[in-house]
Symmetry: C4
Subunit: 203 residues, 4 copies
């Protein structure tokens, strides 16, 4: 029952984050007195904002999916879990800001590096939450088994860390790394599902 409310609050925050990001995609206002008819060219300056929105949408989707699975395998909620969860939500709440900043500046170096920094901090916050849950459930818990070696969770921060300085060499390399990490996670992670399925089949 306690867990339900933690999930509901996190769902609420994630749902709002994913939706207010779209507010950065600002409706092009017709200039007063102008007889300019809007066409597809009007949307062209919005393209980088749109693409950074798509990437961030996928990232929030990945976080929601993994958060969903992770909490599904947790049995009880402690004060430490509540705060580790809020810490994760804090860094995710900065996504709309960094997404808008990258998009409006056509993937300039500093915004791209700051985007990576927030991704890095969110990844670290996720790792802390995972460790906090495992610590409270026991090392042989369902989550510990399911997470296993967690190579994705360990590789991602390393890649973000590499992307931050690389953004000053070429922001396209950094962006490429962010897209690569997103694809890495999009490939379905059946680990937890498999462990869950096994448990259900055991007598």
């Amino acid at each position: 029952m306690e867990k339900n409310r933690l999930e509901a609050f996190s769902d609420g925050v994630l749902a709002i984050i994913i939706t207010i990001m779209v507010l950065e995609l600002k409706v092009p206002h017709p200039e007063p007195g102008s007889s300019h008819v809007p066409n597809l060219q009007t949307l062209k300056p919005l393209l980088p904002v749109f693409l950074s929105y798509v990437l961030s949408f996928i990232y929030v989707g990945i976080y929601w999916n993994n958060h969903h699975h992770m909490l599904h395998s947790a049995r009880r909620v402690t004060g430490g879990i509540l705060w580790a969860n809020l810490h994760l939500l804090f860094w995710l709440s900065l996504f709309p800001f960094t997404t808008g900043w990258v998009g409006e500046n056509h993937v300039a170096a500093t915004p791209t590096a700051v985007y990576g920094f927030v991704l890095l901090m969110a990844a670290i916050a996720y790792y802390i939450l995972q460790r906090t849950i495992i610590a409270s459930q026991g090392r042989d818990s369902m989550l510990a088994t399911a997470v296993g070696s967690d190579w994705k969770g360990k590789l991602s921060p390393v890649l973000y860390l590499a992307a931050i300085p690389l953004a000053f060499v070429s922001s396209w390399i950094a962006s490429g790394i962010y897209i690569f990490v997103a694809l890495l996670w999009l490939i379905p992670d059946r680990r937890i599902e498999r462990v869950l399925a096994q448990r259900e089949h055991q007598p």
Copy 2:
């Protein structure tokens, strides 16, 4: 239990989409130093924004209703369903943008065509989600029976597809088609309700 969280997250996103659309209906600010008293004329320029809001509100309402019924008949949630659902939410999240753009430009051709394009993509995303759920539940599942020939689901994308080029002939024809499709869905779809009722009455 897993399904609950998918529903809760979708409800959250849909609730926010439906509500931030109204933010495009911007309060007319009194000009500083002006002694102009606001009257109903002040609201007149907002009328197209208001009408596009009404149409989009009805569309989000239809999606919420159908989503509600569709997930009600699903028994379990897979990774594929989670992502098909996020894909649908992505296209729906663009509604506030296209609604505002159409409204502010008094139903100009390109915004009207783009509005139709997002409707089309949302309809396709809904169809993919439906297929993904049926695939995971089995062909003789409750949803497969309930959906049946799904003529509405098949006709709607065709009509949107026709409306997009027609928007450049007359944006009123395109708008008329969008309103027609909305009315088509507003007529209560008792298919799923009927199948559900039958199952409950069976021993």
Copy 3:
């Protein structure tokens, strides 16, 4: 189970409406280059916006409370109830707009009348929802008994209807009526609670 989702969606929309209303209370930006130190005088122009926010907050609170009790006493959800509920949410979603308009124009006549019009439409939508639920549950249902003569629900629209033209005589009279109706509903309505308590005590 179906009812849960209707409640969750309505809660989401009402929570967002109540919270985005506060966005009209815009942070007074320090003018660039100005050495002006903000003080309580800076907040003075926001007072009418604040007061209209308080009134609208109370109205949304009343709607949430009553909606809560009404749906609590409903047993099943039909397509008609879903749409009657969306219709109510539509009018409530216009509260942030009318609240901001009244506040920014220091309770001018037309905004005050439009505020009352939206209150009137929401009251009518609530009445339709109530009738739709009673129709689906049966005349001797818990809700029908609990609502009883429903003098508040019948008096409120009449008062709003009177306030709309009176706003053009004096917007303070109209505002006074809106405050009076809010107070009328704030006085706890123990009807449904009482009927619920009786049923629980019956064998």
Copy 4:
């Protein structure tokens, strides 16, 4: 079941408050025609806004955590509890405004005092909600036992009250007090958890 909906609505409002606060962290727009490349200096003016966001995020987190525990120990929901809860949400809904005002004015005296005033009112509203719940559950209820002497709940308003005039002496002293109170609450409050654990172990 009634309690669930109160929690869901409060979660929704708190999730939105915590997320719209970040909207005050406005994306620095590149000036049109400017060849200025954004760098970390571009973010420097946002630092006070960011820091006030961090503090307010922690405060909303504390309120959510305590609200979570408090309602967990409540058994039934009365009309009085519903309104005491809405009263608390009202004051919390002003956090985004005061947070933005303090941040944009680089912790000027009046905004800092107003920030403290809203913290004070929220603390009083929380106390009223706590008393209302205890009154409806009985003096020997789980919550009454858990809350105990409630020294934190009594000390906090006193400190806010001291900080408000002190903001006019030095806004940094006032800010220091707000940070101190936040840290006071961040230290995990195991009182309710302990009482809950004891009850579960009792036969």
